[in-house]
């Protein structure tokens, strides 16, 4: 129904998938940008619905599209914002943790402070379950770089969460 241009059917798809898309945008980029990016993702999905051939689940197709939209925005932001550098300073500026490493809220907050590259790899690998091969392709990295970024992210998170 949505594929045939029915906005009501598309709204139902939005209701079903918005939490996942919004969470991905929030973790990959920024809490303040998550609303805007989420809207962009669904508008792009509406425009691209004709390319969805049903070979994968709609959620999988949408998720991949969301990653592409987010990474495209990341490229723009990288030129604009100092925080999206490879410096570890943002993580060091965080307040100390108050729980076990990996506790949900602490982890979300610590992830938000990770340097851009390490953050993308950590979210895609450890939260979203992509393999290094896929991440390397998405981000235009060598597979070894993806692995080293992931380790760097984990160690930075550990340093904060166990401080």
């Amino acid at each position: 129904m949505a594929a045939s241009g029915d906005p009501s059917a598309f709204e139902r798809l939005y209701q079903r998938h918005v939490a996942r898309v919004h969470s991905l945008a929030r973790r990959m980029l920024d809490y303040e940008l998550a609303d805007e990016i989420t809207q962009d993702v669904f508008v792009r999905a509406w425009e691209k619905l004709h390319t969805f051939r049903g070979e994968a689940a709609f959620g999988t197709w949408l998720h991949r599209l969301a990653v592409n939209v987010i990474l495209a925005r990341r490229g723009t932001l990288g030129k604009q914002r100092q925080r999206y550098t490879e410096s570890d300073a943002p993580l060091e500026m965080m307040p100390a943790r108050t729980g076990e490493p990996g506790t949900g809220m602490d982890l979300e907050q610590a992830m938000a402070r990770l340097p851009d590259g390490a953050r993308q790899v950590f979210v895609l690998h450890d939260v979203e379950g992509y393999r290094h091969e896929e991440i390397a392709s998405m981000l235009g990295l060598a597979e070894g770089t993806s692995k080293s970024q992931l380790h760097r992210a984990r160690m930075a998170l550990r340093q904060h969460l166990t401080a």
Binding site: Q39, L107, D126, V127, L161
Partner: protein, 222 residues
């Protein structure tokens, strides 16, 4: 604890270390309490990350999305409305002619309906059923006039249709003309056969319908 080992801990957690490296690291972990602590922390972080739940936005984002996707739907509706406005406000000669043809189509239908009826006996049930007497001179005259008028519109507006549409139109009309010819021959051979007359009428209607649609296309393109 040495960097040599900690750099391998992530791959160990992911299960991607080679067998030899895994064996060497496990040997090291037996003696290195620091590395065991790091390993435990990394495992907690990884399991914590994979267990993170999704959270919906606090605001309803759908109105903003709908506002951006609706215009495309509205545009189509507006286009239809615009075409209807153009039809109403500035009728061109082909459009006026098409309107006249529409009236003739109604006349043809009425002539068919009001013509003398005959009855025929069906072999299967033995019941009698009324059939249209389309072969009347009146209905055939109206049909011929409608075809002639439409043909004139199509000829004069041919340049407004693309070549694909013209080819499809000519192919369809050729097929229908053959069907009409065969139906007319059949009716001539068995003029009392209501089914054949009904078939002839339907085929003639189909031809008028195809020609009328083509005339509509020309009118809209004018």
């Amino acid at each position: 604890m040495a960097d040599l080992w900690t750099s391998k801990l992530s791959e160990y957690v992911d299960g991607t270390l080679s067998a030899a490296d895994r064996q060497a690291l496990e040997g090291h972990l037996v003696d290195c309490g620091d590395c065991r602590v790091v390993l435990d922390d990394l495992q907690r972080i990884v399991s914590g990350a994979s267990a993170l739940g999704d959270q919906a936005p606090t605001a309803d984002l759908w109105p903003g999305i709908e506002g951006r996707i609706r215009p495309s739907v509205t545009d189509i509706r507006d286009l239809g409305a615009e075409r209807r406005r153009r039809w109403r406000v500035s009728l061109t000669l082909p459009q006026l002619a098409a309107a006249g043809i529409a009236l003739m189509l109604v006349s043809f239908a009425l002539a068919s309906q009001l013509g003398p009826r005959s009855t025929t006996t069906t072999a299967s049930s033995g019941d009698t059923a009324p059939v249209l007497h389309v072969g009347t001179a009146r209905s055939q005259a109206v049909f011929a006039q409608a075809v002639a008028e439409l043909q004139e519109i199509l000829e004069s507006g041919r340049g407004r249709l693309d070549s694909t549409t013209i080819r499809a139109l000519e192919t369809n009309l050729a097929i229908i003309d053959r069907a009409i010819s065969e139906a007319q021959q059949a009716v001539s051979a068995d003029s009392a056969n209501g089914y054949l007359r009904d078939h002839l009428e339907q085929t003639q209607r189909r031809k008028l319908d195809v020609m009328r649609r083509a005339a509509d296309l020309i009118a809209v393109a004018s």
